[in-house]
Amino acid sequence: MTSGVQTVQAPALEMRGITKGYPGVLANDGIDLDVRPGEIHALLGENGAGKTTLMNILYGLAKPDAGEILLDGSSVEITSPQDAIRQRICMVHQHFMLVPVLSVSDNILLGEEPMAGPIFLDRAGAHRRIRDLAMSFGWEIDPEQRVGSLSVGWQQRVEILKALYRNARILVLDEPTAVLTPQETKEIFSVLRRLRAEGYAIIFISHKLYEVLEIADRITVIRRGKVVGSRTPAATNEEDLAEMMVGREVNLTVDRGASQPGDVVLQIEELRVKDDRGSEAVRGVNLEVRAGEIVGIAGVAGNGQDELVEAIVGLRRPSAGRIRLADHDLTSVGARQRHRLGVGFIPADRHRFGLVLSFPLSDNFILTDYYEAPYARGMIRDEAAIEARAVRGIRDFDVRTPSARVTCGTLSGGNQQKVIVAREFEGEQRLLVLDQPTRGLDVGSIEFIHRQAIAKRDVGTAILLVSAELDEVLELSDRIAVMYRGQIVSVRDGRTADKNEIGILMATGGSQVAGLSTSPVA
């Protein structure tokens, strides 16, 4: 560990020589990590580097083979999350551990119900405490509101409130910004800065380099279970950190040449689509994507992107409007026929639409083509052809797997995504719809998928990219369409677009730039 940091305070938490092996892998190999009160310590590493294992050990979910954990200098044993909470260590998980049908206060109180007498809950007192706590951050929150009806950004605040309500003094945030807009990220950063000023010790896990540089006081990079090094933001930069993470030089920006747009491939006219609850989520969208260009759709999640994408690939029936693919009218054509016409799809929720996790890789490679030659003769599956397809996909797209026969659920997220990419990118696709294609993936996988997308563009495929990562949209798109409340409010040139301007368009629709936040903030 570097010792030259200005603060002289003793660490609130120190992990020493943490080692944890799983059969065949050493997930943590003598990791040292400490965090002081009033410090934000960023833990940076790729998926699979060992961050999660380390945090699971801290949170009592895994038992280390060696090493010790010290709180305020004295060794403690943490064998369960209850232990961790008792030691005032709290975690804000990447996938929120909230119960959507319960109210804000019920979620916060869950597991720690304040009692008034032996039987009844002291709800009124708890509500008051929660409201006071929220108000101290300037958040006007209704403790009675159902969590499911809150935006993602607000759900995260509930998670943070939950931690603070339990008197946490060491906060671990696992990729807190993965699901947030740039504005929401700014807000959460200001919260974190405040908590730091109040003396909380914060571990911030991320693989977004610029965020880490912006918020952290110290950055520790781990790779393959080992600490590669620690830096202060002032003493490093994105390239340096990326190299530490990956172990080689990384091209952070994809080298994309100029696009050569050809004929219009995808043409959407006055499209209207309803969501599951029957309210109109896409409200009259017009959009064109040409051969050999990437059109990015930027927007805060939940502004109709999901419904738009599902309508394009044939998973949702539009209520009005038309979708054309070159000279075919797709509007009332099923998903299979669209696939045959050359529409490929990387779904945002790969576990839902993209893969059958309990099936072997081979079956997932043929998921959309299982019924036709060479994978089937009549009704009979051709196992040899199916296996050959899988072996080819695994080789061409460098899927890390012991064989084509293991189930997809055993692969890492990045490798699962590669299976989908391998399946959907093969052949002469005319249109690729990429919905959050790199969500939750590490730098290396992101780079790989971005390169593949550019390569497809350069051979004349039309690509529609939907991403909540504004950076991704900016980096890849030749044109950027901003979606707001079911409509395309603006289309910009991808090379000259300004990040701030797009961010404001995403948040406000561009009418009047009144406030940056879409949620009520006092």
Binding site: G24, V25, L357, A376, E383, R400, T407, N415, L441
Partner: protein, 384 residues
């Protein structure tokens, strides 16, 4: 690529992962059964406590099930409808459907077979038998089609509809055997004999050919599920209906098809009992087969071979029970077998608990140890 040794080890591990839970469940059931036997001894007054009684009982159970040709034939005969019924439940499980209606489909299948069998009792067996079997399959399929169709068009949950249809089926049987099919010469409600439509005995005193039909069904269902595109659709819809929809499959159609096929298998089970064993039908016909089939499908983990093995186990217990009762001077009633079956089923349903107590690894856990997690680029081994 892995060497053959590694593959053999992996295969052995997978087999154990798949077999461990049913195996432990069986042992647990025998243990609890022994406790029940010992406890019952304490309750019965005026008799010396005999610590070896459980062993006596189990030995008799074993002997009655497997000790010679006739016991084995009895075991196979008792297993036959359980295999077919188990397949009916297991196939539906594969499509993500819980077919509690195997009992109703079983009854309707038996009714269809007995109706046609009685009508053709004097026809050539070469016509009567296939026709009666087909009638049973069709009637079962129709009874399975109803919940499938309701689910596809309205989303009505199959658990509810199949339970209800079981009652309807029982009532239909009661009406049929006391009304249109009632044999007027008999005082009690009973149908006529099926005559030439009876399945021929091929082994021992009463080993009818239904066992061959069940065996063929095991292979047919296995082939359908794992070698055909239809089976792939069934499995995909069961595992992930959304992915199935994206793959261009039609989950609703698959649901209707699967439920009809399941009904057909259960109907065939009813046909083999009525044509092979009873040769006629009464209102109290086969009251538990369809429910035992659920236990069989669970124990066999919805795999055709597993179902066949589980059915043999349950069939053996049924076949061995009478001898157990005789050899223990009715101290241990044949119903002990119900205790054993119920205990097996309980430990399967509460499998998380059993796994934890006996530290069994699941199938998933066995594969998790393989190193699949790695960086997306470069050529080095992955680290978690």
């Amino acid at each position: 690529m892995a060497s053959w040794q590694q593959r053999a080890v992996a295969l052995a591990r997978q087999t154990w992962a798949a077999m461990a839970l049913p195996f432990v469940s069986l042992l647990l059931a025998l243990l609890i059964g022994a406790i029940v036997i010992l406890a019952s001894e304490v309750v019965v007054p005026g008799r010396a406590f005999d610590l070896t009684l459980p062993f006596t009982a189990y030995a008799a159970l074993f002997q009655g099930a497997l000790g010679g040709l006739d016991p084995i034939v009895n075991t196979v005969r008792a297993s036959t409808p359980l295999v077919l019924g188990g397949l009916a439940v297991g196939l539906a499980f594969r499509a993500g459907l819980f077919n509690i209606g195997a009992q109703g489909q079983f009854l309707l299948g038996a009714l269809g077979s007995v109706t046609v069998g009685v009508a053709l009792k004097e026809a050539s067996p070469f016509i009567a038998i296939p026709a009666a079997l087909a009638a049973g399959m069709l009637a079962g399929a129709a009874w399975g089609f109803i919940p499938g169709f309701l689910k596809a068009v309205s989303g009505a949950h199959e658990v509810v509809t199949t339970i209800m249809l079981n009652y309807v089926a029982a009532s239909v049987i009661a009406w049929a055997v006391s009304g249109p099919l009632d044999q007027p010469t008999s005082p009690s409600p009973i149908t006529d004999q099926v005559g030439n439509a009876a399945l021929p005995v091929i082994i021992g005193q009463n080993g009818h050919m239904g066992a061959l039909i069940a065996l063929a069904a095991v292979f047919a269902v296995g082939w359908l599920l794992f070698r055909t595109t239809r089976g792939f659709e069934i499995r995909t819809v069961g595992a992930n209906p959304d992915a199935a929809r994206y793959a261009g499959m039609q989950p609703r159609l698959v649901v209707v098809l699967t439920m009809s096929l399941a009904g057909m298998l259960a109907g065939l089970a009813g046909a083999t009992v009525v044509l092979g064993v009873t040769h006629h039908m009464t209102a109290s016909f086969g009251t538990t087969v369809g429910f035992d089939a659920i236990a069989v499908a669970l124990l066999g983990r919805s795999s055709p071979v597993g179902i066949a093995l589980a059915a043999l186990l349950f069939g053996a217990m049924r076949a061995g029970a009478p001898l157990m009762q005789i050899q223990t001077q009715s101290l241990i009633p044949a119903e002990l077998v119900d205790v054993l079956q119920a205990t097996i089923l309980l430990s399967l349903v509460a499998h998380e608990l059993v796994r934890r107590i006996f530290r069994l690894q699941g199938v998933k856990a066995a594969v998790e140890t393989t190193d699949t997690i790695g960086p997306a680029y470069g050529r080095r081994p992955g680290i978690r």
